[in-house]
Symmetry: C2
């Protein structure tokens, strides 16, 4: 069981947008799909989510997708929430309907809940502290980008 690759694809797409420069060829969902190595519809779905979350704007028909915010103002947590890979506070599934006639059954959910929430929050805080800017800077370093 894993957090869907939708999240990493979304970061990929946002990185393409962030690294796009004036004068570059128009970045269509088709082109993005080429970089990701998937079908453009997949990209469009994700872009729909990113748009709904206010991270990108998308020009209908004539094409073109743009970041609404600078890369340094987009955290990986923003992306994670935008693509809805995990429901709020629901990373861990807790068995439901344990037997209330048993004290453990009656109390296990609440006894576990705080810890599991803390674990999820810890994960999300790392994502909150990581920006798209950092990702693209890393990509540039690795790629030997000059600008």
């Amino acid at each position: 069981m894993q957090i869907s690759s939708r999240f990493s694809v979304a970061v990929h797409v946002l990185s393409l947008l962030a690294l796009q420069q004036e004068g570059d060829v128009l970045l269509t969902s088709e082109r993005m799909a080429g970089s990701v190595n998937t079908n453009p519809v997949v990209i469009r779905r994700i872009l729909g989510q990113l748009k709904k979350a206010g991270l990108v704007e998308v020009r209908p028909a004539s094409g073109g997708t743009f970041l609404v915010r600078p890369p340094a103002a987009i955290s990986l947590l923003d992306v994670y929430c935008a693509v809805e890979v995990v429901e709020e506070g629901q990373l861990f599934s807790i068995h439901d309907k344990p037997n209330p006639a048993c004290p453990v059954g009656r109390n296990i959910q609440s006894a576990l809940d705080a810890t599991l929430q803390r674990a999820q929050t810890a994960l999300e805080q790392v994502l909150a502290g990581a920006t798209l800017q950092q990702v693209t800077t890393d990509i540039q370093l690795k790629a030997g980008f000059t600008g």
Copy 2:
């Protein structure tokens, strides 16, 4: 997408074991299933994993499952690893085979990897710091246990 309830059921089962007292009725997988409100086979599967991980010992045939370690020496991370809800370092799925002809495609995986590992580690560290003892203490408090 959620981390399987197998984990929470495992904690439930371990809590039953931890709170078991001398003279209590034998705790069979059937009884545990009653508390969890599931089928005994489900419990047995999980017990198989916990046993393989060295957290419990199980008496064949005549029945009876026992903690191998004191509850304070069993972390929730131990349980999480025992029930194999998440593969090591694999909480996040990263799309594979991005296009290496594109600098973003070529580098996105490694550019993301460290951050995602850190996020997973942060979550797991919270679990490492939480013990079965804490869970059972909480259950006892909530249940108004006197023992």
